[in-house]
């Protein structure tokens, strides 16, 4: 036995291939909305399935409206989400309210569905300080801008949950590009070493701005990066809401049972530009690739699946669309009504107690603003 193992390790390439071969993409619903993996089917009620579909439809509308609001100058920073609804919303759907979300800049939908008022998401986009004032009981962080930083912080959130004996997890999101940061490795390794109840999601949407995932890493899958940290890793079809849901649910189960973190790679695609700040995807993506991925659309396949079950209709979908539009209109109104930010506001949100050096600045601006 010992000598056999030794020989296996002599063929280091074989060892890698063996590991890589284990990472097969989990899919439950295929592109036609047919169940291809009955054994893995989650036990969701019709109402839950409808709710998940409603959220995806709603979020697609939110994306479209956010893009046009941004173009009109009525919204600030925005990173489009269309294409990633299953990856984002089905993972959030597997959470409980006590769980904490540490999102990246593209992950506004998850925190909105976790309880952040839409008006606040809009204020955050506009850089209004009230956008960052997360309401009590809504367990989310503001979206991270510095690639990878949320991964290490998640280890800390999870350690805190563990110490307090909470039956809850910390979940975080990064992209394929984010896996190249030191923080990515340090985060999963740190959480793994302490068996912290964390879920690390990589939304592999094939590109990091212009850089294709093949140029990001030699690894065949990003899920296999879990192996080095000694934690479970899963690759799922990120356009399949049921596969994403199941992988996250299982990871959560393990985490709260004290079995430590899981790394999940969701295979997905962003249809739109990287952000609304002047990116032109035609410079680095082909129309063929766009078309190939649009055929995998999460809404299309889930709609077919639900229609076949007889629990979804055009009427129902239109209701959701109307509701989304109304909510967005209302949320923009609320955001518009937020008070204009002043320099003194910014100074006073710097520290818990204003130190005297800032007080001097504060007084100068208070005086200026009163004129």
């Amino acid at each position: 036995m010992a000598s056999k193992l030794k020989n296996a390790q002599l063929d280091a390439k074989k060892a890698l291939e063996t590991v890589e071969d284990q990472f097969q993409m989990l899919q439950i619903l295929n592109e036609q909305g047919e169940v291809v993996n009955e054994a893995a089917m989650p036990d969701l009620t019709d109402e839950q399935l409808q709710e998940l579909m409603s959220r995806m439809v709603y979020t697609r509308i939110l994306d479209q409206r956010s893009i046009s609001l941004n173009r009109q100058g009525r919204l600030g920073f925005y990173a489009p989400t269309a294409g990633q609804e299953a990856s984002q919303l089905a993972s959030q759907f597997a959470l409980e309210k006590e769980d904490f979300i540490l999102p990246g800049y593209r992950d506004v939908p998850q925190i909105v569905w976790h309880g952040l008022p839409l008006s606040q998401a809009f204020l955050w986009s506009r850089g209004h300080f009230q956008g960052g004032q997360i309401p009590e009981g809504v367990n989310v962080a503001i979206p991270q801008i510095i690639i990878g930083a949320q991964y290490v912080q998640t280890a800390g959130v999870a350690l805190g949950l563990k110490k307090r004996g909470a039956k809850a997890v910390a979940i975080t999101y990064t992209g394929d590009g984010g896996t190249s940061q030191g923080d990515f490795y340090e985060g999963i390794n740190f959480a793994g070493a302490f068996k912290a109840p964390a879920i690390f999601i990589i939304q592999n949407n094939r590109f990091a701005i212009s850089t294709p995932v093949a140029k990001q890493s030699a690894a065949k899958t990003l899920a296999q990066k879990a192996v080095a940290a000694g934690i479970p890793g899963v690759q799922v079809d990120g356009m399949d809401p049921l596969a994403v849901y199941v992988a996250t649910r299982d990871a959560r189960e393990r985490a709260i049972n004290g079995e430590g973190p899981t790394l999940i790679e969701t295979m997905t695609y962003r249809y739109g530009p990287h952000t609304m700040a002047g990116d032109d995807p035609t410079r680095y993506r082909t129309a063929d690739l766009d078309n190939e991925w649009e055929k995998k659309d999460p809404l299309v396949r889930f709609r077919k699946f639900l229609e076949n079950k007889g629990i979804w209709s055009e009427e129902k979908e239109n209701e959701v669309i109307e509701k989304a539009k109304e909510d967005i209109k209302e949320a923009i109104k609320v955001a518009d009504a937020a008070p204009k930010q002043k320099v003194t506001d910014l100074i006073s949100i710097m520290h818990e107690d204003m130190p005297f050096n800032l007080k001097e600045q504060y007084e100068i601006y208070k005086e200026k603003e009163s004129k």
Partner: protein, 329 residues
């Protein structure tokens, strides 16, 4: 030398391209610098000319970008690394501060690290708190690093040439708002000595030492003040390490008044160094007024455009500072 008007951004690209055409050892590495041309378009067209080995589009790994540049430099290459935003230097900090800056010294003067870290800095583009900082004073504090901050298309080309020719690590700050400004720039390569200030405008009443974008604001203020009969001398140090003390001291001896302006947060900024340097020099006896420093407020750069402007010195602030300073006789 034949010249033509080109932008600051084009001047950066031209300096690199000309160098790369004549020296195979020079190469660039950074995020999205390939077909995308970099976040600001500086390297656009370069991968087509030089290929993916010399314009190396990297994973999102600032620490590895800096570390790989050091390794390559130590073994004979002359890398130029581009950090997409200068704020991300935090992630490359160990490599720059504990490694690049000290490598030659720790090899007993035998190992050299000829590398240039190029990176866009500053606010004004609505890029918010983590994409708008001016952290050059940090780098200026580290023995072993040279720190360059060009303010014009002419200076940027000549200083980048000097930085690429330098056998030591050079931190090269480009200001985002200056990319689109233009000037007459020679077609041929030329070098501007690192450590030489430039008097951007001569004057007799007050010396304004300004860096990067503030050079332009100071010049604008100087033009207005001329109408009030106040003559302002504007000095651009161009490199903050090494700092051209002589030019600044000579100017203060002439004018008797000093104002330092930079975009970086005033506390701990390079303005403190310049002010103390003058106070310690023979120019002290010539001072007719207290030295003034203008710099950024002690807040992160706001996203809101009005507040973003309010966070850093603007022309009216310079006007007010000069008027106040010249009151002292």
């Amino acid at each position: 030398m034949a010249t033509r008007e080109i932008t600051y951004l084009e001047a950066v690209r031209e300096a690199m391209s000309q160098e790369m055409r004549q020296n195979e050892d020079v190469f660039i590495l950074g995020e999205d610098i390939g077909v995308y041309g970099g976040a600001f378009g500086v390297t656009r067209g370069m991968i087509e000319e030089f290929g993916p080995e010399r314009v190396r589009n990297t994973p999102i790994s600032e620490a590895a970008i800096a570390g790989a540049a050091i390794g390559a430099a130590l073994t004979g290459m002359r890398p130029i690394l581009e950090l997409q935003f200068s704020d991300f230097i935090t992630i490359a900090m160990d490599q720059m501060v504990n490694q690049a800056a000290k490598t030659r010294y720790m090899f007993g003067g035998k190992g050299k690290v000829p590398m240039v870290l190029r990176t866009p800095a500053g606010s004004g583009t609505g890029a918010a708190a983590q994409h708008s900082q001016s952290l050059e004073a940090w780098m200026a504090h580290i023995p072993g690093l040279k720190v360059v901050q060009p303010s014009t298309a002419y200076d940027v080309k000549g200083l980048l040439k000097a930085a690429m020719d330098d056998d030591n690590p050079v931190i090269f700050y480009e200001h985002k708002l200056l990319y689109k400004t233009s000037a007459e720039v020679p077609e041929e390569p030329y070098s501007i000595e690192i450590g030489k200030a430039d008097i951007k405008r001569e004057g007799t009443d007050v010396t304004v030492v300004a860096t990067a974008i503030m050079v332009h604001k100071a010049l604008e203020a100087a033009a207005q003040l001329e109408k009030e009969g106040i003559s302002v001398e504007v000095i651009d140090p161009r490199t903050i390490v090494p700092l051209d003390k002589e030019t600044i001291i000579d100017s203060v001896k002439k004018t008797g008044r000093l104002i330092v302006v930079h975009e970086a947060v005033r506390r701990g900024g390079i303005g403190g160094e310049i002010a103390s340097m003058v106070a310690e020099s023979e120019a002290f006896d010539y001072l007719d007024a207290p030295i003034k420093r203008l710099g950024g407020k002690e807040v992160p750069i706001p996203y809101n455009p009005n507040l973003e402007k309010a966070a850093i010195p603007q022309v009216p602030d310079i006007l007010a500072a000069v008027r106040e300073t010249v009151k002292y006789k």
